[in-house]
Subunit: 343 residues, 4 copies
């Protein structure tokens, strides 16, 4: 059977999480997030982001997080600005629109958006009341193309949003990998200050499932529990989410796992680079997008699974290689050997 680099949720979970599930199994706990573990995890997160006034809510998945947040924050005539590559724009089966809100897309080669692009959307929607009122900017970090925002970029976006009465919301499905990137200069404390809300993903970083929504903006915290319940996102055994986050936060396990994933990806990236291959985007996280000839792709695919991401021209395409907490260094080495055999 081939080893799969298709995604970072192919395996179960980190052993420490299984152990924690075992050791807590028979403790009776309140339902729907009113358990000790969720409460502990909330406190840990408040500390890490240095915002004791933040509210933290745990739920099962990223699409669920995005749709619940956006439906809760916006009024019916308000809309969202996203990169055209944004997960909410392309890969959530219209989940945001299904709650009644339009997503305006801005072109982006690297998955990131700039204040000027948001300004252009605002400028194109001045015909009150015939056009929507933009109210929330959605960014992903790391992005769907593996790239990350710099601290300066994030500060500029945050300042722009404040000036223009826009909420800034970060999709952190792969936030840990962004924070663990060697080129990263954003801290969790920055996120506690520069965003109105963000979600921090565990599903793609060693948990069985689980994302934590963190709401910094106090005006957006009230009644959020109602929205969670209404969207079917409030788990009866919320403990399952609390235990996992507690474990991932303990001794910064989340960071070790993300670093491991990134390191594997960077080793592979280096192997491709040495051989002279180009990449669709320049990334320092656990996703890389090397551009190969079709024949080379076929050769790699003999032993490994991955997605062909985008056709570049008649001869070549970008593939996506994604590593995880579970990618053994030995497998990485085998893959590099294969790469080295390509030309």
């Amino acid at each position: 059977m081939k080893f799969s680099f298709k995604n970072d949720y192919s395996e179960g979970c980190h052993p420490r999480i299984l152990e924690a599930l075992f050791s807590t199994n028979l403790s009776q706990q309140g339902g729907y997030g009113l358990d000790d573990y969720c409460q502990n995890a909330e406190i840990s997160i408040q500390e890490k982001i240095n915002n004791p006034a933040a509210k933290v809510f745990f739920l099962s998945g990223g699409t669920q997080a995005n749709l619940t947040v956006i439906a809760a924050f916006l009024r019916p005539h308000e809309s969202v600005v996203s990169a055209q590559t944004g997960h909410i724009f392309t890969n959530e089966t219209g989940a945001i629109e299904a709650t009644g809100h339009k997503v305006h897309a801005v072109q982006s080669a690297d998955g990131k958006i700039k204040p000027q692009q948001i300004q252009e959307i605002l400028d194109a929607h001045r015909n009150v009341p015939h056009q929507l009122k933009q109210k929330l900017v959605y960014i992903s970090n790391s992005t769907e193309l593996g790239t990350i925002y710099s601290r300066t970029e994030l500060k500029n976006l945050s300042a722009f949003c404040k000036e223009n009465d826009l909420y800034l919301f970060m999709d952190g499905a792969r936030l840990s990998q962004a924070l663990a990137a060697e080129t990263n200069d954003i801290t969790l404390q920055d996120l506690g200050q520069l965003t109105d809300a963000f979600y921090w993903g565990a599903t793609k970083n060693g948990a069985l499932l689980g994302e934590a929504i963190i709401i910094n903006n106090k005006e957006l915290q009230g009644d959020f529990g109602f929205h969670l319940k209404q969207k079917g996102a409030l788990l009866a055994k919320g403990r399952l989410l609390g235990i996992q986050f507690q474990e991932l936060l303990h001794n910064d396990l989340y960071l070790s796992l993300a670093k491991h994933a990134n390191v594997q990806a960077m080793k592979i990236k280096e192997a491709f680079s040495k051989k002279g291959y180009d990449f669709l985007t320049e990334t320092f996280t656990n996703q890389i997008f090397p551009v190969l000839k079709h024949s080379e792709i076929e050769k790699l695919a003999e032993n490994f699974d991955f997605y062909v991401w985008k056709n570049i021209d008649d001869d070549s395409a970008a593939i996506r290689i994604i590593t995880s907490w579970a990618t053994a260094a030995e497998v990485t080495d085998l893959f590099i050997q294969k790469i080295n055999s390509l030309k």
Copy 2:
């Protein structure tokens, strides 16, 4: 610390499930339900309900199941009929209305609905096109009041729905407990034949989380995956759901667990009965609703946790005692001793 009879999701999960999570942990699997375990579990369910043409979808919770099913099955002008005690009517924060559909409630003392009551709703909505078109009947089994439908009742409802072009959908959050009741005469095969769709709950029967939506009506199967994704109900690591259902179905573990829960409840019921207490409803599942004086409730509450369900008069109230797969026989015995001390 008091033992809690507040609900059947206070603990983690049955040990066999934890073991299965361990043993499968590093197997690489497809995401979003395309894993071996979900596929095996689907086949097992098709066999048990004797409907190989059924489609099975796994997701995290009951509210999520209800809202996804109803939003997928109905067109905008179609509505739902439910008992006034139905979970969708009272305890899901308007989740169904949030997808655009009204729920008509019929009065019910025992949590069940009868064809005649549906007929009355239909008769009151003849003013086309100024009134909604009823299209789906929602029932729970066991109900929110612990009661169960008989096979004859279910057959009559099913026939009525077919005659009136209505879908019959069963909320089975506690279906296993219904099937395990000593008074039950409904089989899984009946459900495969008499309902258009139903969901089968695991969260309240020993799993960490998980419900299986089973769609029998072929016209309703197409494109259902889109709806799951749009509502944020499609887990990246669907394996977590598949593994648990596989385990619960193996050697009918689901039935043993439900029987265990029911047996504990029946022992407690007998203890109350012997002492001459009445009940809000006559139940044979894992929920009982004895009516006690306030002073008696306080006394029980010294050592045990439970919900006061409904005030009966100035002196007395019905409490809800709910048992589970995890309720040790020893705890039941202690509780019975306490009951026996009441008068």
Copy 3:
């Protein structure tokens, strides 16, 4: 051809309105409500309700007014309380639910609701966040059963709503008929003070179409135009609405027309009363609901059209007789002759 007492929108419009359409026809005006007539009509309404800070929006119909207001005022987890006879609960094809909001119904024999009934709904929804948060009380005046609120009743409702952080919204499809009732003691100024918003109907009082939404609560005024546009309620030729309201407000034409309608109904009511007939509700507006034997109903129906409203028992039913600005006194007299011939 039979004369119809089926409703108060069977004819075109009052001649003064047609004349106003003629005389203004070629004046070029701004679109979408930005015309002189809408602006004049807004000022007239502000004056009549003695609230210069109120905002007024004109649109085509009552269902449209109800759904636009409720969708604009509520957040996703907030719900509406209405009488079970309320138009939004029974006769708008789920328009409110289609915008995502549940309507809780309270029983009402006369179409009105009392603070105590709202309190009971609030009390039944304390399980945060599993239940909806009630936020808006919807009342109709005159009601769907022709009755009207007294000033004291309205003041009590208004005070209750303020205490409980609920909006009070009045459906005034037949508000003019309520104000014109001999038993009425509510003034337009009261409405400017005691409601958060109300709509004032013209369709059923001599206009071709048109309702005016008046928003007193300043917090609810902002951005309302966006909601109107989004719901398809913003007429390109808003002038059509402005001209009609301007005309109906001029010299209180609205009141003359409503009084005329009421007087015709009261003459008919008196005729039925003298003959000893009972009524479903005691009304002083343009709707009456006499209870007749089926044979009597058939006899009346030989020459007149009306709705059989509700079966009372095997022998008798309540019919609805509705008069309007266009009901000629001569027709009323003919109908009374027919009534007098019944027994």
Copy 4:
């Protein structure tokens, strides 16, 4: 006061419509579209489009028509393809998204879309079930940029839609002006055959208000009345719409009015052309978009009102001149004199 070329809904309505309102005013008619005039108008339209099986529904406005049709035709996971210039994409305050459906935009310089562009959208949405299922193609004729489809273009679009299981829906807010264009080769019969549904606008062609939705596809006709009511689009006095359409259809008044509007626009276009001005798009309907220097725009604006549509460069912008049934030939001549004075 300046004459306005800002839009084609600045005046009231054609005198023949006012006369018809007068002459029918006191006839008692059924409400909600069940009047003689709506029924006659439906038959006339069925004849004109040569499709006796078509169903016709009248309502107040274009946004209302678009949102009601799209919400009625689509299931939750289905989406719409439109030109980026499409009214639903830019100028309806997210009305379509508010009903839960995404609108995918394709770039278009002339307001029209081509099968190849739709194909590209389809190709980019193959990741079932993570992406939306495109189901309806929305086109405008004449477009928001004044251009029209040729019969060949429409046939190709229709064939493409049939092959790809897509509905073809035409927004005909200015359909009459398209049909009346000298370059037009599409007939009403073509529309009865090549579209699944279209709406035919009267508001912008001499009526006070009114659009007719014509549904050719029999599968989409059923229950449409429910959707109209639910969206607040069913007028109590539907007669107002029926009378106007009856009058506009009588002796093809709609065509005379549209031709008059087009002729005025073409005279103005010729005047600009002779002076050497370019246009944003090449149009033959009642909208033209000449490109002028800012100083020239200011000069024209001394005596005439119009919108500055789009900045072309630092020196020049395209303006929009729109004529109507009410644009007197004398006014056109005055405007042409002004144009001739520009250089």
